[in-house]
Each structure stands twice: as structure tokens, then as C-alpha cells.
Symmetry: C2
Subunit: 416 residues, 2 copies
Amino acid sequence: MAAAVPSREECLELDRVDPLAGQREAFALPTDVIYLDGNSLGALPKTVPERLTTVAAGEWGQDLIGSWNRHGWIDLPLKLGDKIARLIGAQPGEVAVTESTSINLFKALYAALEINPERKVILSEVGNFPTDLYIVQGLIRALGHRHELRTVPAADIAAAVDRDTAAVLLTQVNYRSGALHDLAAVTRAAHEAGALMVWDLAHSAGALPVDLNGAEADFAVGCGYKYLNGGPGAPAFIFVARRHQARFSNPLSGWLGHAAPFAFEPEYRPAAGIARALTGTPPILALAALEAGLDTVLAADMTLIRAKSMALGDLFIRMVEWAGGERSGLTLASPRDARQRGSQVSFRHHDGYPVMQALIARGVVGDFRAPDILRFGFAPLYVRYVDAWDAAAALIDVVATRAWDRPEFKHRAPVT
Amino acid sequence: MAAAVPSREECLELDRVDPLAGQREAFALPTDVIYLDGNSLGALPKTVPERLTTVAAGEWGQDLIGSWNRHGWIDLPLKLGDKIARLIGAQPGEVAVTESTSINLFKALYAALEINPERKVILSEVGNFPTDLYIVQGLIRALGHRHELRTVPAADIAAAVDRDTAAVLLTQVNYRSGALHDLAAVTRAAHEAGALMVWDLAHSAGALPVDLNGAEADFAVGCGYKYLNGGPGAPAFIFVARRHQARFSNPLSGWLGHAAPFAFEPEYRPAAGIARALTGTPPILALAALEAGLDTVLAADMTLIRAKSMALGDLFIRMVEWAGGERSGLTLASPRDARQRGSQVSFRHHDGYPVMQALIARGVVGDFRAPDILRFGFAPLYVRYVDAWDAAAALIDVVATRAWDRPEFKHRAPVT
């Protein structure tokens, strides 16, 4: 049996004294759900519906095309970029909000290869988020198969960087296990071998302190709809360190990245600074929602967010293991040391899929990743200690009583 | 003096008998504005604010991650693609809604070059919309400068296609002049020379009948926020003719284009059909607004839309020329024959910028394109005959009285 665990009452008391407790009020949450999937889709900031109505009915509807100036629409990609910069240790003018994570990764890797033209290897991690690997594969094909994607286990990354490595591409927090890379140490190892460092912050931004400038990272991308609460399919972001911006060339050279987009010149001439990372016309409705999401994170202290995130994860692990450990069929798939985890906890279970469906039927929403991973994300702005306690209790019960062993929980929905 | 023009009363009568008159009710329009810029940003469908509230507060807020299945979010890119297919002469399964026009053009051109690997020229039109040319330039650079962009005047396109031409890229309606390419004839000329045809339908989709399949076009892209009324920066679309889909390879190979996106396989394996043109996670809020916009167009008969569009443009031209012709300083920059125009009319004026600002100050909203083009877009779903009459009268008066010759109209806003 593992260490003793707090009682439910003690968790309620932790919530009462939680300095972040008030942040939960910023979110509209269903009353009958414990939502532990903010790592996949963040919860709805209460301000979003009204903000969307204002932008649609008030701005688009009333001021129409004039809104691009009058309501500052044209400024949103860099304005929001500057807001994200504050969350990831970047300076103003180093981040743009545009397109999707995948598209931005294509741009960042392309630029990295161009800056490091003699080297042919993109080094990544076995089990990196698939879209990151897919984008590398597409880029290598587009560039004429002159490069190579090499993947090694996470622990071997630093040792595997060598003089062939043009760029190291890593997602800071592994999407399955939640394992957290040491951003500064890996970046240093890449640089020592002459490689550039490209970070995917999909599961980091808004969840934990990130210091890109402190680590002297080169490029980064990230997602707007997870811990940044920007809404389903929210625009993503791209970071280009200021020292690289002058030679950052965007292969997706659309008009918004032009030095004078409204001059309608026939030749592409990249904008100065991070604006050259832009491509198409900014998606204003989506950006408005994302800004509301960003504001929920900026309203809180990132140190407090991280401390609570670690405490919630520790509590959940201790509860689940206290109740049964290996006998339960649940095996911890995340680092036990909270400092080595992002803001999620994963357990393996042989029947993970129906276990998660049974949990969801009880109002505890995490998600499942094949073949056997149960993921529980702890977004500290709206997840309470008592939620972690109740979720663990539900998981323990579902497993102990085999409540998952019913046909309706084994039917697979198209999206899981 | 040109032909006689109808009186304002006759225009009001035309509106009374207009079979499309009822469609205007679908839009929220400011009462004091004649909006002739739907070619740049379509007007707001009245259903959009409520639809956004439903998707944000009802779906995202209440059902959270479960909405991807429960509310069919994951299906929106292809569902909306099928709706657009009905407007552009494509079959279901030939159109996907995703990313921006620029990004989709990169994909389409990449695929065209890959299907036609021995040929090195992308042929386009002098004065094509700049982002289209910029994307070609970026693609050529990414592919190692093995290709060439050649631009010729519009009238010379058919003659310029030769055995070096891999792809012809044209915007069907010129963004400045409104001149309309004969989609079938140009496609035939391209094919006869062994080239593939890529159409940019930014100013065509929703404005006039387009028959991609009838013309046997190969690829097309287009914009959601102009005549499709999808909102500022709405997602764009891509058409890939069914016969090319099996060999369509998407260089921006993100997870949504994977055959099994939720299997999280390490190797990219393209989905069957048009789904392989997808890249990142679909932007649900923006797609919801776009669907409302598409429904405004699908509710009307495209033949009626085109007939009214031509009549509105003709009326506007006759009014302006009747009132002054060359003496006014206004010169028609669009084809006089409505069959050769899209849904816009452009006039040149030496002081075009302040003229447009003075018009906007009177509530007539068109736009200006350097160096001297006044653009007036006629979106037949919400522009009335009397609007065209009143707008022409305002233009005539602004020019005749030199009302534009004031400092406040000469100050240039950042976005025009």
C-alpha cells in the first residue's frame, strides 16, 4: 500500500485555501462533469459567447470591411502573439498567432533546415506526437528526400545529437505519458552539437512555466485550444527567436507575411520581424475566442498554476495507487516525480478503452490513447482538488467493480 | 452621353419584382450604409451570432471534448466541402474546407507539379492576385528553384501554354478589373498543351455559376469570406478532381489528412479521397459561421444570382457614364460586357483614394486598390437595384463637386 491519502474533506479544505480557486469562476463548466481533458480541449471561458457576439454582430455586422482598422482585426495575430510570449518566455515581437500547429511546424522546420543547410538529419523522439512526425515526413518529401528523420527514445536525445543533426524537434510534454523534457538542457545539448532546437509546446503553453529565451531556443510552435482555452481548432502560434528572424524565410509565403500586404506588389518581400511568419488572412472569430482564452491564463500566476498542477497530479496518483496499485490492473504511465511531468497523468490499463467510456458515463471525462493509455489532464484554473479526489475514486470503483465490462462501453466512437 | 438610365423609382420597382429580394432578409446590414464590398468581406448572415452562441456555449461549453462526435465537429471540413461543391460544379467528396486560400494553393500547386514532373513552368497572369504569385514564389524556392513562374497578360494565356507548362494558375475573376476568364476554354487550352489547370475561385464562388467538372478542371481553391459570407478570415476550400485524388500528395501532411488520424501511427498514410487535403485540427467556430454563410448562398438560385449581378453592374456603369463619362475623370476599368465580368465593377480615377474615402463618408462602401482603382462589388443577395442607383449618384456627386478634395480623405489608413 502506498502513502496515506487525504480525505475528501481535506481536499475540500485545500480548495478553500487554493489561491487559484477564484479562477474557476472564469469558466462555464457543466455541473455534472469532472473535466480532465483540458489537455485536449480547454474549457469555455465565460466571456467567449459575448465576445463572439460583439465581434460578429457588432463589428462584422455593423462596420463590415472597416472593422479591419476600426476594431484592430489586422493587429490580432501579433497582439495575441505578444500575449502568448508572456507565457513562454519570449519577447514581444517573437510570436505570431496563425494557422495550425502542423502548418507552423512546417514553417519552423523549413527555416531551421535553411539556416543549417549542410546538415541532413531532423532528430526527434520515438512516440512524438504523430502530426509532428508527419509534417517532417512531408517536408522531407517536398525538399526532395535530401534529409532524414531520425527518432530515438526520449532519454537518448541528448546523446544522439551529432554533427549531422540540423534540427532537434521535440514536444516538451509527451502527449501519452506526460513526461516533460528539460527544455534548457536539451536545447543546450542541441546547440553544443551545432543543431537548432524546435520545440512543440502544445501541452506546455499555459500549463507550466516555459522560458524559451532563457534556454536560447530557436523556434517553437504550439496549440491554442488546449491549456490556452482558445476553443476547438483555435489558431496556433509560432515563435522565432529574434536573432533568427532576419533569415527566417517562410515557404508558405502568403500576402499577410509581405512587407506591404496592401501594396499588392508582384514580388514577395518578407515583412520585418515575426510578421513574416504569417500567411493567410487572419481568422477573426477564432482569434477573438482565443484572446478570451489567453486572458484566463494571463490572469493567473504561472508559478501557482504549476504548483497546483503538480499537487493535483500527485494527489491523483497517490489515490489510485493507494486503492489497489498493480492489483487494480492500473499501471502508472507518467513520471512519478511531478517535476518530470507536464500537467497530465496517464495510467495504462489492459481494457483502457471501456474503462474510460465507463468513467465518462459517470461524468469523469478524460480520454484514451491507443493501445492502453488513460489520460487525465489537470488544468489548474478550473480543476479542483476535490475533482482529482472524486475522479480517482470513480476510476478505482470502475476498475474494482469491473463496471467497464459492458458492451456499450466497448463500442468505439469515430473520434476518441 | 451614354444610353438613358432608369430613374430611381424604376429601380425601386425592379427591387419589388426581384425574385432574390427576399434573400436580403437573411443578412444583418447597417441601415445607413450601401455595402458594395462583399467581394472583400461578405455581409453578416443573421443566423451567425446565434449559431456561434450555440456552438460556444451549448456545444463547447457543455459537451466539451465530446462535441467532436456528438455535434459532428469532426465532419465539418468535408460536410462544408460538399456544400461548396454544389456551388462550383463539383461532386460530393471533391472539396474540403480547410486552412486559407494561400495554404491550399500551396498544396494544389505542389500536387500539380508532382503529377506533371517533367515540366518546369507555372504559367499565370500579370496582375494575378499577389498572394497567389507569392505562394508560387515560395513553392519554387522550397522545391529548389527547379521551376519557373511565368506571367503573361490575361489575353495571352491560352497562346502561352506550351510543352514546358506544368500548371496554369489563374484567378477566374481579376481582383482589380473584375474581368472574368472563360473557365472551360482556358482549361481546355491548358489540357491541350498537356498542362494541369489550377483555378483560384476567390471572386467566383457564390457570385456566379462555376462548373469545374464540366470544364474538367484539375484543382481549385477559394475563399470563404467573400461571396460565401463566412466571416472575416473564414476557412478556405480546396477542390481536387476525383481522378487526381489517388495521386494527390499533400506536402503539409498533418494528422487530419491521415487515413487513421486517431490511430496515432508513426508514419503518414494519406486518407482516401479529399480528406488527404486536410492538415490541422478544424477551426470549429469559424466553420460554424462559414456554414451559415454557405446556407445563404445555397438558399438562392445561382442563375438568378448571376442575372442580377450582371444587371446591377450594368446599371451602375450606365449611371456613372451617363452622368459624365470621361469628363468626370472616371474611366471604366472593367469589361463593359457583363458576360465578361465577375460581380464587381471598377473605375479608375486619378484621385481614387480620396474619392473612395469621400464615398465611404457618405455611407457608400466600396474599396480602393492602388494606384487608381475604385472597386464596387455587387453581392446580389443583399445589394438592391436602388443601392446601385444611389451609389452611382453618390459617386457622380463626389466627383462632380470635388467633395473628395479634403485633407481628411487623403490620410491613408493602414488597411485600405
